[in-house]
Symmetry: C2
Amino acid sequence: MGKQRELDFLFNPGSIAVVGASDTPGKLSAIVMESLGGSGFTGGVYPVNPKYETVRGLKCYPSIKDIGAPIDLAVVAVPAAAVSGVFKEAEGKLRGAVVVSGGFGETDDRGKALEDELRDVIKKTGIRVVGPNCMGIYDAVSGVDTFFIPVERIKRPGRGSIAVLSQSGSFALTAMDELAAEGVGVSRVLSYGNMVDVSETDCLDFLARDDATETVVLYIESIKDGRRFVESAKNCARRKTVMALKVGRGEVGRAAARSHTGAMAGRDELYSAAFKKAGVVELSGYEEFMDGCKAVGMQSAAKGRRVAVITDAGGIGVNVADACVSAGLEVSALPDGKKERLKAVLPSYFTVGNPLDLTGSATDEWFAEAVGVALDGDDYDLAIVAPLWGPPGLTDRLPELLAERIAMAGKPAIICSPGGKYSQERKGLFTERGLPVFASPESAVRAAAILARKGRV
Amino acid sequence: MGKQRELDFLFNPGSIAVVGASDTPGKLSAIVMESLGGSGFTGGVYPVNPKYETVRGLKCYPSIKDIGAPIDLAVVAVPAAAVSGVFKEAEGKLRGAVVVSGGFGETDDRGKALEDELRDVIKKTGIRVVGPNCMGIYDAVSGVDTFFIPVERIKRPGRGSIAVLSQSGSFALTAMDELAAEGVGVSRVLSYGNMVDVSETDCLDFLARDDATETVVLYIESIKDGRRFVESAKNCARRKTVMALKVGRGEVGRAAARSHTGAMAGRDELYSAAFKKAGVVELSGYEEFMDGCKAVGMQSAAKGRRVAVITDAGGIGVNVADACVSAGLEVSALPDGKKERLKAVLPSYFTVGNPLDLTGSATDEWFAEAVGVALDGDDYDLAIVAPLWGPPGLTDRLPELLAERIAMAGKPAIICSPGGKYSQERKGLFTERGLPVFASPESAVRAAAILARKGRV
């Protein structure tokens, strides 16, 4: 068994021990126990805590070594000073663990000493550890969920093909919550925190061979072994799309990142160069991260960067065109043949171009026809469709008609639908048909640009 | 009466004639009649159409000249070829008009000829005309509403202090709908379309003296008289905050703008220089337009650009800091005195800095105390507060406690609250207390940067 495959047991364990388990509502371990109960995880769950006989109706064990079965994954939620002891006791009985506890290198000298001790114990016992100071694993395939925030507060996305690797737990949480709200699914999410053992690089090796994952998205504050990262990212990017956001820019950002996970954030240019070398799509910030995930989670890559813009709102069309120009996308002129085809459908006085403005007289059928004609043949690589819902000729049938024509064309499309209540209520009509919706011209173009870059790396 | 004041009758007319009035549901004129009925407009409304005896139960007149009273404002919704005739007939009886009809310079040679004719008639009759090819006026003070899209589809914002001047009707609609959804009020909104007579410059002159307006925001595709614009904008910016978005960038954007309102969009640098000279805050795109309106609609200007960032989500804090650095805002170090004050409140192992990460242990009280300490004295000009709702110590009391401390400090603050359902449902708890909420670090920082620039121009 190669080293890459070793992490299988973290994402798809046969058995999970929850160390520090408790019935006290609100305690991290209680939330983890509850999440595991409702997440579809089908393996054995073993509460561990010398203080209790049972937790959530399950027999509770004083220590991992008392469980009469080997354990693949332990979720460790005990005070920092007690963590190393847990692993010493579990040696030979435990393959891997997620340490959600904080109080290590991200705090003070005492925390740093505890982190050093933990590193030593990991080396001696051979137990693979995610964290400490992390949210751990959410796996939509196996049902593992160590994210200790109740689902009432933070929703979990359904199953999809995006894997998220995040040094920041709160970033992973926000991403999960937002993707769930947008109807975008994930394969696996890992928050790896202080990275005392398992790193983003280890996970890239695992995900490179993971059939459930098509796209890997990383949130990075720092990388420990740059050379190994480039090697693994390159290998992964050969089979999957890999995108990365590196934060902690400038002096201020680096200082913030340092106090956050105790990590040294290196110079921005070095990271950009490494991403480029590895074939990784670099993301510029939170918005591009989320817009990019929405785009790749719902649409295929674009073969190039020629965009057809179809709208009923001239001003929004101009805004989309502006944003395309800034993002390096081409809003190239509509070929004469297509002009003729559209003129046969639209009123004679119409100015037919790209962007195409269907005006307040727009109908569902005009929109569908225009998108169909634009994406036909080899003039454009993708479409940005921006319906403003004002025109009376637009009905709730529009999303269905558009989705049909887009599917027939076999090219990606992005919906740009700014506005208030009426627009927002119709968003689901697009997303349930696999069309991602963006609330501003800039966000739609960020998404389109990611699809175009995805097609090129 | 100076020329500036002449436009009063457009925004605050004593009487309105709707030319082309009809009871046919869905017709532009029917929607305008309905809007005027429900918008709080208290003046006389006179339907005009030779085909009908009554419209919506009101006596209908064959022509404006048949109404037994002088008319301040006519809303003209007849085919382009009939528009000039309406004004010839109304000479001496009518002060101003909004021509919502399209089919003029934005279409073909015939349309251009009709626009030239209209321009001549305006000159001869002295009637002041907004449009053609526009949505006209929405006035939250007087209740005038010529925007011919039903309120079910596009919501109207309540009364506030922002005036929006837009060459694009769809842009004005989207802005209104979005501001209404965000709880941001407006004074007056004008969509002026092809600008055959009344221009953005005329409106700037009017708004400079308008007590209901504190901020003027412009959406510009082109300006006809640059010198006069700079003069008027400068005069207006002396008394109000003036912000402007110039669209139609590069060759593609310019072409799109040209086919949209038949206007020549000039070189970008000329516009930037003109804005700078006039003391106008230039906006970079749709997102900055909306984020800026939300910010200035709910918060005061910042005296400088020193930002305190307070969060319970380290990763989001790093993202906010990164975005601040990119936007030219300072996330300067927390002074030692304030560190001591915060250490007295927070656990001893906390790293206290800026951004301040209250971690998953955060409580409502920590947040309020941290914001209070940060904004106290003269170390920071504004705060970006980014609560992620995961921590169990955060309750629905948080927005109230934050609003109290922010009000006590007398400085502006921006809420950054990314995430899904739970966060989105709590947005109203902030906005009803006058705190604008942004869904991404970048949008929160765009808003903060506008408040900082507003304080400096």
